[in-house]
Amino acid sequence: MTMRRPYQIAGSLFLLMAVLVGWQSLTMKFYTHLGPGPGFFPFWLAVALGVVSIVMIAQSTFGPSEPMPADFRPTRGGVLRMATVVVTLAATAALLEPLGFRLTMFAALLFLLAALGRQVWFVTVLIAAAGSFGAFQVFDGWLRVALPTGVFGL
């Protein structure tokens, strides 16, 4: 197994991005009587990205391929663990203001530690409480870094 296909796919995605950015930049002012407009820089960056993407695709297609690292393809367990982190972070972002920092972070850390931490339950609860109620006291209370309190005042 080699890295040929992953780099071909990545190169194609970057090329698509270059086309989209280039097209978007042409909808902006390219040049004004004062000099380059807002579209000037993005347009040339899109051109540069397009060229480098094509080189990447060409290199991976016609050049020698690097061997694929043994751990390149994630296992099912690996994907699940990553999904746990991604979903927890997305849920934290969604609930932080409605529920407040303390409740949201307590739930998020409890879930993360239960799912990935492999700790005994009281350690899990202790860390979740320290990372939510304790962190709120330190940051909001002492360091005056404003954190949301939500509808329950927590």
Binding site: P6, A10, F14, V21, M28, K29, Y31, T32, L34, G35, P36, G37, P38, G39, F40, F41, P42, L45, A46, A48, L49, V52, V55, M56, Q59, G63, P64, E66, D71, F72, G77, G78, R81, M82, T84, V85, V86, L89, T92, A93, A94, L96, F101, L109, L112, L113, L116, G117, R118, Q119, G131, S132, A135, F139, L143, R144, V145, A146, L147, P148
Partner: protein
Amino acid sequence: MESLELLMGGFATALQPGNLLFALIGCTLGTLIGVLPGIGPAAGTAILIPIAMAISPTSAIIMLAAIYYGAMYGGTITSVLINTPGEAASAVTCLDGYAMAKQGRAGAALAVAAIGSFVGGTVAVGGLVLVALPLTRFALRFGPPEFFALMIVGLSLVTGLAGRSLVRALLSAILGLMIAQVGIDPVMGAPRFTFGHVELMDGFGIVPVVMGVFGIGEILFNVEAGAMAVFSPQISRLMPSRADLDASKWPIVRGTVVGFLMGLIPGVGAIVPTFVSYAMEKRLSKTPERFGTGMIEGVAGPETANNAYANAALIPLFTLGIPGSPTTAILMGAFMMNGLVPGPMLFKEHGEFAWAVIASLYIGNIILVILNLPLIPLWVKFLKIPYGILMAIVFGFSVIGVYSLNSSVFDIGIMLGFGIIGYAFRKMDIPLAPMILTFVLGPLMERGLRQSLEMSQGDISILVTRPLSATLLVIATLVIVSSMFRAFSAVKGDTEV
């Protein structure tokens, strides 16, 4: 003489109890960040920016700079004790440091590393003091064309030296510049790539992007790999023997020179001077075949080079406004958040601040050597924290750090998006450093180019008709051509092998 007087003034500020306390906190946190595998110095520095926002700019930068070079010290501990570099620059230390640990000489390895780091760091700060004023006076002659050309030099060095593939490094650098395009355009004030989101009008923030790429990306990478191990290393006698000190003397001197010179070049990356130093020690040794089996020279040289580099890398940042690594780019972001722009004007407009931070580097180096020698057994205890708990701590700090800057959950979403990008880039072996550096430098570079073209009423030849900018552009071209030549030679070499 003038520099010395200003430095003394800087010491008067840096030695104030509040600033001293934040230097101590920074050194402690930095060492901790370096010790804990899974939190790099870039993410660690970014996480703590919100705390820095709550204190005075001088104290904030003193603390963040201390975290930066403290992490360089701390990274050594894990390299020696568990064969896992706490940060990339300590990777080469694993070779002989871990071998020494297996022979029961971990204490000597760590002590020599701490002494070497102190010498390297202190000499490099001395260099900063010497060159700061002449270099900034020279840079004050720069107009927009020279500034643009200087940024091109910085970028050429970054892309030429980052990673194993020039194409991937270039891709990363261009993407960084593209990310920097989002938001209000710096000259005409027109929105670009905001897609109607008010939150994007100011562009992507440095902290959400860095925290995503380095913090969340690292978490995703580690949980995918199932990195949940707990380490229980043991250390014996702490102090090195007379023979150890004799053997380390010259490697420390050479490591200081290598690290300092390489720190002056933006984009070299902390890992390069350590490998150069290791290779140099091996070449100069009478017993090169014994390297990798526990030679103290293999620890002393690279560890000294590592810290000399870290401190010297602040020279281009302070004097020219060019960050040489992702961590110094974050430091630059922290400067800007405090209304301070690194570069020649920093010394002119905020001289007291600049010299206080430089003085604090001396103090920080002393604090670190004090922290590192007697407290090694304490740091070892932190290695026993399971990764699951560590990840939860990074997760919590990331959310607080990113949210608190603008009180915006949108920024948490941006961090998540860049976390996934960071993970994907790691998997694809696309270097992350060029992207972060160009992301920070992009707006400055664009402003330089557009102001130059306004000055010349659209005539691009302004960049090559002014001697300084022309010289800088020639340097950039030479760097790019030599990088391409090296890349092609490497490909040819691979094919022939």
